[in-house]
Amino acid sequence: MLVVPLAALVARVPWPELPALLASQPVLEALWLSLATAAASTAICLVLGIPMAALLAEADSWPAVPRRLLRTAVTIPLVLPPVIGGIALLMLFGRRGILGPALGAFGVSLPFTTPAVVVAQTFVALPFLVFAVEGALRSTDRRFEAAAATLGAGRVRTFVAVTLPAVAPAVAAGAVLCFTRALGEFGATITFAGSLPGVTRTLPIASYLALQSDPADALALAVIILAVSIAVLLLLRDRWLPGVVAR
């Protein structure tokens, strides 16, 4: 169920024509855009996600209601159809959205821009990072933090100097998952950011559109997404993954 469809896809790829297809301007443009936006959204996920994970790991001592609300809020983008996420982003940042007019006053308009792609990707990828890091934080040995505190380190310093290095593998694993999820993002992006070559047309969108006119191109694009995802996931060493899932 997991491997067979992908194997079927690979079997249909027009290998002899692949190099030419891959070197074509639209494909390179989409590839570059996808890599750049996925890297940017991964960076934002790290900045936003690590504090969120720390908060979530601490939340055990909270009353049930706020704790569950917080957990649900973090999980929602994971289970929501991405198109709905895109609509939600339009309702927030669109011209007639809640924040849109205020942004417009500063001459900033987010929809249909490359930053909109990054926002859409961040929205869907953030939970992957949060949960990876949270799982690791829960399993850290609290005695080291307590020791750091008795030695006079503040909470922030303890977190940065003691806790974070201890969970570094999980942070890396989360970032990788985040990056690959961002790379594959389609629904929220096409809804919120649109589809313009070189600006907002990422690999998955280019692949979907190519399917309408030239299936060979679509397959070539699919192979790139697959290859990049596999390469990135292979970089993730085996022993890091258990930290993400279990523990």
Partner: protein
């Protein structure tokens, strides 16, 4: 791929008035059972039953919905399942063997790809459509004509040239000598209309029928050149349809008087 398709191709399965129709039929048959021969008109025993799956261009959405409701009350044993999307995407799915009974495309080029693949035969023209320049209600950007599509400061949406409405838009812009500066090239015409109706886009080229369907949320700006670029809509039954009698009845329904009236009301031109 499956995920993206399902989120964009809107499959509409409507709760058909079949139950009501069927119970009426039973009631009529019960009355007639005493002696009278057969109930008149639509209550005649219907030869066709089952499901008809129709892949239709996104621009046909409202019209085919109401035509299907009428068709189902005329043929109580039949359910029409409509799957709307960009014609080219639907065509690609059909060529890959998607199970459907009827295909209705928004232009000839798309139908040709499906005919060439041997999936359908003998497509019939049933409607035409022309493009219109649309703006959000109130025309906030003060758009007056096609030339405004070249203003870089406006947010302009067009269909991608790979789908029929985008191919028509390219021809129209070329004819008018306008080099548009689009901010997004969408995968089907309804996606464009939605973005105009939401006010996220200042101007767009969509079909006349979409402007009518969108109601008060959008305004149309007359474009004299638009009548020169006409999309011809074609409909055909699939060669391998699992329910050929019902599929043929649906094609006849769309190309017949009922279909023609409904299409005209929606703003389509005669074939």
């Amino acid at each position: 791929m499956a995920r993206s398709t399902s989120s964009h191709g809107r499959a509409a399965v409507r709760p058909a008035p079949t139950l009501l129709g069927a119970s009426l039929l039973v009631a009529l048959a019960g009355c007639a059972g005493s002696g009278a021969a057969e109930a008149p008109g639509s209550a005649e025993p219907d030869a066709i039953t089952g499901t008809v799956t129709v892949f239709a261009a996104a621009s046909l959405t409202g019209t085919f919905d109401s035509l299907a409701t009428e068709f189902e009350s005329e043929h109580p044993g039949v359910r029409v399942v409509l799957d709307y999307g960009g014609s080219s995407g639907l065509a690609a799915q059909l060529v890959e063997g998607a199970p459907a009974d009827v295909f209705a495309s928004a232009n000839e080029a798309t139908m040709t790809t499906v005919v060439d693949a041997g999936v359908v035969a003998d497509p019939q023209p049933f409607a035409t459509n022309v493009l219109q320049l649309v703006v959000p209600a109130g025309n906030p950007a003060g758009v007056t004509g096609l030339a405004d599509l070249a203003r870089p400061e406006l947010v302009v949406a067009l269909c991608d040239p790979a789908v029929p409405c985008g191919a028509a838009a390219s021809s129209l812009l070329e004819l008018a000598g306008v080099v548009a500066v689009p901010d997004t090239l969408e995968q089907d015409v309804k996606a464009v209309v939605t973005k105009v109706a939401l006010g996220e886009v200042d101007a767009a080229l969509v079909y006349t029928t979409d402007t009518i369907a969108a109601g008060d949320a959008v305004e149309a700006i007359p474009v004299p050149e638009a009548d020169a670029v006409v999309n011809r809509y074609l409909i055909a039954r699939l060669v391998d349809s699992a329910n050929a009698p019902a599929a043929d009845a649906w094609v006849a329904w769309v190309t017949g008087t009922h279909g023609r009236d409904a299409l005209r009301r929606a703003g389509f031109g005669a074939p």
